[in-house]
């Protein structure tokens, strides 16, 4: 099973998606008797109105940027990495585990060490799927979905059985020198959970942009994505490229998980479901059509919707269920931007073919 690669497109598609999503959300609110205008105002003021809110928006965008980058790399190579959340969870676990295991290391070793452990764990987890894909042609969609579950329940078992004692379901906080949240940032953003991870995210955006556009590996990844057979015929090692794209993808997802472990929560606990950052990262990447710079903006949009959405039911009587439906419908249109893309491209094609037909009939008459 191969899912068609998403084409890079202009900025109009994402903008139309967002707009349609907001309109549908407004209709839903009207039908249930709530005022969409006030609610949308509350949403945006709740997301951008105070330093605290802005800090939270950036915090929730931080891991999304990384998982979205991870998705876009695999997607460039023609793979649909559905396992981002499992890889992120593996990275989350590894980073926290490392930080808790060596509490006496100085910060300049412990912090980078934990972050790198997170990336390695994510890479290992996606590497399994990449290896199976490269050597046995196993569908990466199925293997990554299943690896997600193994990651979820495996992590929970490790948290309960190894990292905590006596039935607790969350670990102690990581040592201070391994935390990405600092008192300075908390002061700056009115005690939000904003953390230094955003710097790592922005840096990785640059790295991935450079990797994909300026290096041989990036070229090979894109070639394999366009046509695996042609790439092999041109002398590229497709197996190596497949595996390295999956490794990179998983490493980025693992980094995203490490952001949750060292930044947002500063510990790991028994998760009842896979972390949202994986699936949201896919939507973020699709909305940005895989463009690294676009990913920053679409991740911020997701942050605005998530954090601002909380404000709607706090400042009005709209129940949180309605808010969730509205947010989900915006995300739905964002994810379904295929439809908009499809319609636009169909329109262009029918335009062209109409011309062709009219040309040929003209030619026929001559």
């Amino acid at each position: 099973m191969r899912i068609k690669k998403v084409r890079l497109g202009g900025i109009s598609v994402p903008l139309i998606s967002i707009f349609l999503g907001l309109v549908v959300g407004a209709i839903i609110m009207l039908l249930s008797g709530f005022n969409p205008l006030i609610n949308y105002l509350n949403l945006f003021s709740g997301a951008l109105g105070t330093p605290n809110a802005i800090g939270e928006v950036f915090r929730s965008a931080t891991p999304l940027i990384l998982t979205a980058l991870g998705f876009s790399i695999a997607n460039s190579a023609g793979f649909f990495n559905v396992g981002l959340s499992g890889q992120a969870l593996a990275g989350w676990l590894a980073s926290v585990w490392f930080a808790l295991a060596f509490p006496h290391l100085p910060g300049f070793i412990l912090l980078p060490g934990s972050i790198i452990m997170g990336a390695l764990a994510g890479a290992f987890w996606s590497g399994i799927a990449g290896f199976l894909r490269a050597y046995f042609g196993t569908s990466e969609v199925i293997t990554t979905i299943m690896l997600n579950y193994i990651s979820l329940y495996g992590t929970n078992a490790i948290v309960k059985g190894v990292l905590t004692s006596s039935d607790a379901d969350s670990t102690p906080l990581v040592p201070i020198q391994a935390r990405l949240r600092t008192p300075f940032l908390e002061k700056l953003t009115g005690n939000s959970t904003f953390h230094w991870g955003i710097v790592i995210s922005f840096f990785m955006v640059f790295v991935i942009w450079w990797l994909m556009k300026k290096t041989t590996l990036g070229f090979e990844i894109r070639s394999v994505g366009m046509n695996e057979d042609a790439a092999r015929y041109a002398g590229m090692s497709t197996k190596k490229t497949i595996i390295s794209s999956m490794l990179l993808s998983g490493a980025l997802a693992g980094l995203g998980g490490a952001m949750e472990g060292l930044g947002n929560f500063q510990n790991i606990f028994v998760n009842t479901s896979l972390p949202d950052i994986g699936f949201d990262g896919m939507s973020v990447s699709l909305l940005a059509t895989g463009n690294p710079i676009g990913i920053i903006f679409s991740a911020l949009l997701f942050g605005i919707l998530k954090i601002g959405g909380l404000n709607i039911s706090i400042s009005s009587n709209t129940p949180s269920e309605i808010v969730n439906i509205v947010i989900a419908s915006v995300i739905f249109f964002v994810g379904a931007n295929y439809i908009i893309q499809y319609l636009i491209s169909k329109m262009k094609i029918s335009h062209k073919s109409a011309k062709l037909i009219s040309n040929s009939t003209k030619g026929g008459h001559k």
Partner: protein, 350 residues
């Protein structure tokens, strides 16, 4: 042509949407302007992922807050009383901060999962009152409330042991942890106190918000001839009730409810299958705390523990027969008098 029509349809839809949006803004601006100038006693509750409609723990807390608000003529919303629903653990901190910014005076955290978020917020906002339920935080502006759930669960165990016909009963917990440990331990001790030969089957759903898992676990238990299930699993418990409603068509089964009187959840066409419920006075405590803020007597820095003696936990009469009721009353007395000590951990059971 065809596509052109599709596009015009979308365009029309959009315009309708915009038009409706504009209409909406004219209709209801008045509802948002009720700034009371009274001294600020507003209170809000942050749920865990179960939500205020979990028919159990969170709902009980919210009902308490609603009752208090209505009694004091407050409205739901800013300057009154409200709740903030958390969809995931990542929402705890932003939700609390949003409530602080909306100037709620007292903020309740229902559930031990909120402990670290409340701890951080309390440190940064010394003027706001916080209440944490089911855990303990040491800070001057936090009141901690814990319940001796194990004592009520013990009575539930007695009730189950007195009622079972198959000599097999079940327990479905939400997530293993210090709180649900109390339920499991108390229940098992209570069953054993009546009849050591009765088997207790203990299963965990690993979530407080997965009714489908609850249903599957309960179905397996009923198939295994267990005729009474005590569910201590928050929102997951509604699945236990639906499994029981399917099973009751074939044979007699009972469910024991948790945290609030779940009599309503047990209604089916032929009667009611909620044997009894253990009560946890979350609502009463929330109400009490909100009132104490009103009277400037907020018990910040203190830990209050509620057991059978303090009437913080209890067991409803439900559909217990007179023998079972007698046994429950007997054990209740012994616990209150301190003759029976109910353990808190399954590992402490003999």
């Amino acid at each position: 042509m065809k596509l052109g029509r599709k596009f015009s349809l979308i365009a029309v839809l959009m315009m309708v949407g915009i038009g409706l949006t504009a209409c909406g803004s004219n209709q209801s601006k008045s509802g948002n302007k009720n700034n009371s100038s009274k001294s600020n006693i507003s209170a809000a509750l942050v749920t865990d992922v179960g939500g205020v409609d979990d028919k159990s723990f969170n709902q009980s807390g919210w009902e308490g807050l609603e009752k208090w608000g209505k009694k004091n003529g407050l409205k739901k919303g800013v300057n009154g009383y409200n709740y903030a629903q958390s969809n995931s653990d990542a929402d705890f901190a932003p939700n609390i901060n949003k409530l602080i910014q909306a100037k709620y005076k007292t903020i309740f955290g229902t559930g031990y999962k909120l402990v670290s978020a409340i701890k951080n917020a309390a440190k940064a906002n010394p003027k706001t009152n916080f209440v944490i339920i089911d855990d303990v935080i040491k800070a001057n502006n936090v009141a901690s409330v814990t319940f001796k759930d194990n004592e009520a669960a013990f009575l539930a165990g007695v009730a189950a042991a007195e009622t079972t016909k198959t000599k097999k009963v079940g327990f479905i917990g939400g997530q293993r942890g210090l709180v649900i440990d109390r339920f499991e331990a108390g229940y098992r001790q209570g069953v054993a106190a009546v009849d050591k030969s009765i088997k207790v089957d203990v299963k965990y759903a690993d979530s407080f918000a997965k009714p489908d898992v609850g249903q599957a676990l309960a179905k397996a238990m009923f198939n295994n001839d267990e005729d009474i299930i005590y569910q201590a699993s928050g929102g997951t418990g509604s699945g236990v009730f639906s499994a029981a409603k399917n099973e009751i068509k074939k044979k007699k089964v009972w469910v024991i409810g948790v945290d609030r009187d779940q009599e309503d959840e047990g209604n089916y066409s032929g009667g009611n299958l909620t044997l009894t419920s253990t009560l946890k006075g979350v609502g009463t405590v929330v109400e009490k705390m909100a009132t104490s803020v009103q009277k400037n007597k907020f018990p910040g820095g203190k830990v209050s523990t509620y057991g059978l003696k303090e009437k913080g936990v209890d067991l409803t009469k439900g559909h217990l027969n007179s023998d079972a009721l007698k046994a429950v009353e007997n054990y209740r007395k012994q616990i209150i008098d301190g003759k029976i000590k109910v353990v808190e951990r399954p590992s402490q059971l003999k």
